[in-house]
């Protein structure tokens, strides 16, 4: 099939580009090998940056973050919580960091205000009493799965073809151009052939592999970061450490949980995401210095992601992005780097360049066009407001006639899963989980996995054991470091799923 633009990779970058182009009337397609967000777009702490983190070390990134933060709060309010953020310094932190920080905020256009100790404690009562200086910024939390899905939905509505679980297997080159791209659709097992004018490689950490199919090279540093999910919201704000970017310097309240982040080490491959016991201990130690209650919390899950950074990567690498072209494949454009917060800007710039090359004139519409309903839309019920937070415009398509719960940990209705299953994107149990949050709580799917799979069978699913096993393995990866009550839960879970149902590896 002929397309003006083929985008490879369904993370925030790819989804942002396909939406931007589709809204400009460009005929385009996006193929994602797993589910959307299966790379760094899902493996992060769900932070909507104010820019504060980068004002001292990387002002251009900070500036971009500040602008995009404001745009996203306007266009995608449903998946954002405007929690605001605090930057807090503790005894032992370099006291000379706060002033350049404030100055940097001013210079980069990042709104910031210093709070007195009293103000800080009244804003965030769980904050350590030892906090020395506290600067408030406009950080927020964002649900990357909902954000990317909203981009996909919007692109589809504008006419784009978007498919997940569709892996590009082959590129055919003629005269220094990619003329055909072949992909395997996991759903049907069919091979798709796409004849594109331009190919955009937005495969994140997998970009070098995609480029290699066209005989090109993309230099990229892979950097692993670990995060912990803690049960309950132990802070009202995003709480950052007021010091140069370092390990364990942030806690983000999101949905029903708090996410502690992050660490940094070189990654061997895009799949090298596993957190270590050291990471977990470090994250708990560092973040509980800011919020002492974290010392006694229940860690529900540990996970990791791989940051694809331009050049050689590492903490020092700029978080801006770059576009790489290569004469060996003249119509292949690789997008490298960037951040979740600035995905839209990145998509706009790439789309500008693509439209230039295609001779299309339409301008970018994503700066103003809403991705979802406003957060405080009047007239709706509380139930609907909760659904809106996960499903945006699609919230109203969830039937509230059947109020029965599917997942009691995360309070997910059966009807939510049914709505998701009726859509084109959910192939596996994990796909439903990412969209509904069913299975993300304490019991990590023990209670709801079978019920969820039954719903999938009702919707025409065919391979229950493969789907359950995949889900089980993914949940299990997050439990490798479980301790205390969560370890008990994990032992029970394995007894039941592996011991009784014979799922996964049997001892």
């Amino acid at each position: 099939m002929r397309k003006d633009v083929l985008i490879i990779g369904g993370g925030a970058t790819g989804a942002g580009i396909v939406r931007d182009l589709a809204l400009r009337g460009v005929e385009c397609a996006l193929l994602e090998m797993g589910d959307y967000c299966h790379g760094a777009s899902g493996g992060n702490h769900g932070l909507l940056h104010s820019g504060g983190r980068y004002v001292v070390t990387d002002p251009p990134s900070a500036m971009e973050c500040a602008k995009e933060n404001a745009i996203l709060r306007r266009t995608a309010p449903f998946c954002i919580e405007g929690t605001d953020g605090l930057f807090v310094s503790l005894p032992g932190d370099d006291p000379s960091f706060a002033d350049p920080f404030l100055k940097g905020c001013k210079g980069s256009g990042v709104p910031a205000e210093e709070l007195t100790a009293k103000e800080a404690l009244s804003a965030e009562p769980g904050l350590s009493a030892e906090a020395l200086r506290c600067i408030a910024v406009q950080d927020g939390s964002i649900d990357p799965f909902a954000l990317v899905q909203a981009n996909v939905d919007s692109a589809r509505e504008a006419g784009a073809m978007v498919r997940n679980h569709c892996r590009v297997t082959d590129m055919v080159l003629e005269g220094g151009m990619v003329v055909r791209v072949k992909a395997l659709d996991r759903r049907s097992g069919e091979i798709l052939t796409i004849v594109p004018e331009i190919v955009i490689n937005a495969a994140g950490a997998w970009a070098p592999q995609v480029a290699a199919m066209a005989g090109c090279e993309v230099a990229m540093g892979l950097d692993q970061g670990s995060m912990l999910v803690v049960d309950g919201r132990l802070c009202g704000h995003v709480v950052n450490r007021l010091r140069p970017p370092s390990d364990g310097d942030i806690t983000v309240p999101n949905h029903t949980a708090t996410v502690l982040g992050t660490t940094s080490r070189p990654a061997a491959s895009p799949e090298d995401v596993a957190p270590s016991r050291n990471d977990m201990e470090l994250l708990l130690r560092e973040t509980s210095a800011m919020l002492p209650a974290l010392r006694h919390c229940r860690v529900v899950r540990a996970y990791g992601g791989v940051r694809p950074l331009p050049g050689r990567g590492g903490r020092g690498a700029s978080r801006t992005f770059s576009l790489i072209t290569d004469e060996r494949a003249g119509n292949l454009l690789s997008v490298v780097g960037g951040k979740l917060t600035t995905y839209r800007l990145m998509a706009e710039r790439v789309s500008d360049q693509v439209c230039n090359a295609l001779g299309a004139r339409a301008g970018c519409r994503t700066r103003t066009e809403p991705l979802g309903p406003p957060a405080d839309e009047a007239g709706g019920s509380v139930a609907l407001a909760r659904l809106r937070r996960k499903y945006g415009f699609k919230a109203t398509t969830v039937s509230l006639a059947d109020q029965r719960m599917l997942c009691s940990c995360e309070q997910v209705l059966r009807a939510e899963a049914q709505m998701v299953l009726a859509g084109p994107d959910a192939l596996t149990l994990s796909d439903v989980m990412r969209r509904t949050r069913a299975g993300m709580g304490y019991c990590q799917g023990l209670d709801c996995a079978l019920s969820l799979q039954e719903l999938m069978m009702e919707a025409g699913g065919t391979e229950p054991l493969a789907s359950l096993t995949e889900f089980l393995e993914e949940r299990e990866r997050g439990q490798a470091l479980a301790s205390g009550d969560q370890l008990r839960q994990e032992v029970l879970r394995r007894h039941v799923l592996q011991g009784v149902y014979g799922l996964g590896e049997r001892e």
Partner: protein, 349 residues
């Protein structure tokens, strides 16, 4: 004669009490909560070596007959479940494998998933059809709520009779008292009726009910909702225990002790991070980094003090005892075997 104190009222504690009480010992069982036997499938996956005849005798029940041998059932996921002992409607023997199955579930209720199970059975070459009966029962209310009157049972019998032949696969929700219903249903619709092998629900609870009834029959006293808060060990023997429950605090002399507190799963052993610890701080615990297999160190059934000496009148049984083979599905057989070893050790002393 001082009492034998059994700490823990799960499978290991109850089997030990039954054995001891039948031999004429005064036995007090102290239990604080839900043991893991109540979360089990109510089936034993393998024969407990050395004591299987005793175990069969212990679990003999008229209302809910147990069957043994090489048995196979269908799990709640539709996968094959092999075991040595189960209630009669949970499994079939070597000759009785069903050729076709009707899987009965209640719409939107998690007790059984007919489409899922039918598909999984289909992949094993068993012809299976889902039969989803209408229901608006919330998922956290057990199915018993739908079967309070005779009419509901008649209704299910009628629905089942309408389907084309084969074995009927039902959710497992009946208590020990109501187990006869399955025989009734079998007669009523002329089909073999099979319950799904189900953890965390009725089968584990009714196995526990059965074991409790048997221990009480044999003469053991069960003190529920109580906790042993401390133990004194003097000259290599346990002397006294403090038992608390509600407003009651009782210090008692201990003739002999059986620790059957369960493993980390039910809090019978403490967890310090990922390390197993003895909540009484009296006995040696070994875990080799494996929470599942770790537990109290024993020497021929008897517990070992923290300093490494054998405690003369204290034995360990069940999940709280370290065992090299204890793994998924091995909890109950291990409970029976270790209880047998514990009782022999105490009676020999």
């Amino acid at each position: 004669m001082s009492e034998v104190l059994v700490v823990g009222s799960g499978a290991a504690g109850l089997f030990s009490s039954w054995l001891l009480a039948r031999d004429g010992w005064p036995v007090i069982v102290v239990g604080k909560g839900t043991p893991s036997s109540a979360m089990s499938t109510g089936c034993l996956r393998r024969m407990p070596e050395a004591c299987h005849e005793k175990a069969l005798n212990f679990l003999a029940d008229e209302g809910m007959p147990m069957v043994t041998g090489e048995r196979t059932g269908i799990s709640k996921l539709g996968t094959p479940f092999e075991c040595w002992l189960s209630p009669s409607h949970s499994t079939w023997g070597p000759e009785g494998a069903p050729g076709s199955v009707t899987v009965v579930g209640f719409q939107g209720h998690p007790s059984l998933h007919p489409n899922l199970i039918s598909s999984v059975l289909g992949h094993q070459g068993i012809r299976a059809r889902p039969l989803t009966l209408p229901s608006t029962l919330p998922p956290d209310i057990p199915l018993t709520a739908l079967f309070r009157d005779e009419g509901a049972w008649e209704g299910v019998a009628t629905e089942v009779q309408r389907t084309e032949g084969g074995t009927v696969h039902l959710p497992a929700f009946l208590s020990r008292r109501d187990y006869w219903r399955l025989d009734w249903l079998e007669r009523q619709c002329g089909r073999t009726v099979l319950e799904a092998v189900t953890p965390l629900e009725a089968p584990g609870q009714r196995l526990l009910d059965l074991m409790r009834a048997r221990a009480i029959e044999a003469g053991a006293s069960i003190w529920d909702g109580r906790t042993v808060t401390s133990l004194t060990v003097e000259n290599g023997s346990v002397r006294t225990a403090i038992v608390r429950g509600g407003l009651e605090v009782r210090e008692m002399e201990v003739g002999a002790l059986v620790m059957a507190t369960g493993g980390a799963l039910v809090n019978g052993l403490g967890l310090n991070g990922r390390e197993l610890v003895d909540p009484f701080n009296a006995f040696k615990v070994l875990d080799d980094g494996d929470v599942l297999r770790g537990g109290y160190a024993t020497k021929e059934g008897r517990l070992v003090s923290r300093s490494g000496n054998v405690v003369r009148n204290a034995a360990g049984a069940g999940d709280c005892v370290r065992a090299p083979c204890k793994g998924y599905g091995d909890g109950l057989p291990h409970a029976f075997e270790s209880a047998w070893t514990a009782v022999k050790a105490l009676e020999g002393a």
